[in-house]
């Protein structure tokens, strides 16, 4: 009996050990080291001393104007992008679940941008918002709309929102499609028989029944937008003059460009707490409103 137990433990370690070892070395240990670093001041050079400074890195955050500006951009960007992505994704989903003949090819095309990586998407649009817009403006005389958007701080942020929406809308569409297709046909028919119009069916029946999809989509878009980095890097590089620098990029610059390893890591820990708080609150709020059949 005892040998059997021991053998089971052996199998357990054989099956889970390798992955858990890798996972601990790649995720858990760095997380703990990171917590420790956030209480130190260090410029990243191995020979230079690490000085313990307590919570002063965290206190410094409150008076960091660049970080505050970053917080504002990130929040504006996230709120508008999440709304746009979900509205567009839901609209696409409703169109491609209708009886249109071209719905499959439409779905294929709308989903495509999601597969092209953020870095490459950013470069594609950099050309369009930059030189292409400027050239169109010169050719048509509509310089009020067509100018180099990436040189203007407000329009550069708008460009970032548009590109993120373009990337994510097709992805979010796929999740909404799954939700819409799960609605039983007879419920919609019954509503039609009872005299419900298009909008009434939409708001009173379809939306409550796809609440679960709303939860997932909001969760996905919220955390993706809040953590945006690749598009930020390739489209605007944070510019003009840091006007579009998002949290992830601010942390990256603080650590690897300004060499404030300890302070940058304190920012990274705060960033983690913010991401965790937002997503958990959001999931618990929308979960409450889900309707089960």
């Amino acid at each position: 009996m005892k040998s059997r137990k021991r053998r089971d433990a052996g199998w357990y370690i054989l099956f889970t050990g390798p992955l858990l070892f890798i996972f601990v070395t790649v995720v858990i240990i760095p997380f703990i080291i990171g917590l420790v670093y956030s209480f130190f001041e260090w410029d990243g050079l191995p020979l230079n001393p690490k000085t313990f400074v307590g919570v002063s890195n965290y206190i410094k955050l409150f008076s960091d104007e660049r970080f505050a500006a970053t917080a504002v951009h990130t929040i504006i960007f996230t709120v508008i992008a999440v709304l746009l992505i979900n509205i567009l994704g839901l609209t696409f989903a409703m169109i491609v679940t209708s009886k249109l003949k071209v719905r499959n090819i439409g779905r294929t095309m709308l989903f495509m941008p999601y597969l092209i990586g953020g870095l490459i998407l950013g470069y594609i649009w950099k050309f369009i918002f930059g030189d292409a817009f400027a050239a169109i403006g010169e050719a048509t005389g509509l310089t009020g709309i067509f100018f180099n958007w990436l040189l203007d701080s407000k329009f550069a942020l708008l460009a970032l929102i548009i590109v993120s929406t373009w990337q994510m809308a097709g992805y979010i569409m796929i999740i909404y499609i799954t939700g819409i297709q799960a609605i039983p046909e007879d419920v919609i028919e019954a509503a039609g028989v009872d005299g419900a119009g298009f909008w009434q069916t939409l708001f009173k029946i379809k939306f409550p029944l796809i609440m679960q999809s709303f939860t997932i989509c909001l969760f996905m878009t919220l955390s993706n937008c809040f953590k945006v980095f690749d598009i930020n890097l390739s489209l605007t590089g944070g510019g003009p003059s840091n006007a579009t620098e998002m949290f992830a990029m601010n942390i990256y610059n603080e650590i690897f460009a300004l060499n404030n390893y300890g302070y940058g890591q304190a920012k990274a820990i705060v960033f983690f707490l913010a991401v965790a708080a937002i997503t958990l609150v959001q999931v618990s709020v929308t979960k409450k409103r889900e309707v089960s059949m």
């Binding site: 099956f15 997380f31 597969l115 499609i177 997932i216 690897f256 965790a276």
Partner: protein, 278 residues
């Protein structure tokens, strides 16, 4: 009348979809134009299809080498992620004790940690492993694969765990009574049944690893080991002003993605939906 209306809505929708992909069209057509032609009119098709900029871009990006590196990293990481996470998830799901529950909750909870929180200490740790243990964790494709396995673990275990919990245990018990070892039970009976989840994991990880930029940019420093996003980044740093060359480079990087998408479209859309809904 009704037929006309339906044709009309169909074509309007199709035109909208084409407009949606307009940026890709712009990239492709301008990759064939020379400098003055680009600035003359950005929207019109090119006057000729010379592959001149493509050959230059390929050379400057070291495209085939970068493609090979991306392929090695993507396939290598996914192979290990699938095998190791499926085994782990099965053990965790089937042994219903406190340790398993704890491991599973830790794995799921860490999904909330953004990469930026881990990147600096991770590089410190890997640098330390390289310097004191002599294992080449940095500036090597195998080191990158190792880290990808760590970052892909949570999501994949979570997906497999959910699926395994939904399949009955009786088949596995019968095989054990027939004298099959755990190893045999897993590979002969369980793993083949996990195929739908395996497809989902593969699709999600291909999209993530193939396009990943930040982790490789921190790990890889040698030119010869660059993956496609890395070589695109350095290529763009050098040739931002030469848009025709840049557009040719971008088209090159998009082509493999589109081929992959058209070949595996059904699985990709299903996989993405399943991965998100769980």
């Amino acid at each position: 009348m009704r037929k006309v209306k339906s044709t009309l809505t169909n074509s309007i929708f199709l035109i909208c979809c084409c407009l949606y992909l307009f940026p890709i069209y712009i990239v492709v057509i301008n990759s064939f134009k020379d400098r003055s032609e680009i600035y003359e009119n950005i929207l019109t098709p090119p006057s000729g299809f010379s592959l001149e900029y493509y050959t230059t871009a390929m050379e400057k990006m070291d495209f085939f080498n970068a493609f090979k590196n991306s392929l090695i990293v993507t396939l290598g990481s996914i192979l290990f992620v699938v095998v190791l996470t499926a085994m782990t998830a099965w053990m965790l799901a089937r042994s219903n004790n406190k340790i398993s529950k704890l491991i599973f909750s830790v794995l799921v909870a860490t999904m909330l940690i953004p990469f930026q929180t881990l990147m600096m200490p991770l590089m410190q740790e890997m640098g330390w492993i390289r310097d004191s243990l002599g294992i080449p964790m940095l500036d090597s494709l195998s080191g990158l694969i190792y880290m990808n396995i760590g970052f892909g673990a949570s999501m994949a275990v979570f997906l497999y765990h959910g699926f395994i919990s939904s399949i009955p245990v009786s088949l596995e018990e019968a095989a054990t009574i027939d004298g099959c070892t755990k190893w045999g039970v897993f590979w002969r009976i369980v793993f083949p049944m996990l195929k739908p989840t395996t497809v989902t994991v593969i699709i999600l990880d291909v999209i993530w690893i193939w396009n990943d930029y930040l982790l490789p940019s921190l790990v890889i420093t040698s030119k010869a080991l660059r993956t496609i996003p890395l070589s695109t980044f350095s290529f763009f740093g050098q040739f931002t002003i030469q848009w025709n060359l840049a557009m040719a480079g971008l088209t090159l990087t998009i082509i493999p993605v589109i081929i992959f998408y058209l070949c595996a479209q059904k699985y990709i859309i299903k996989g993405v939906a399943a991965g998100a809904v769980k």
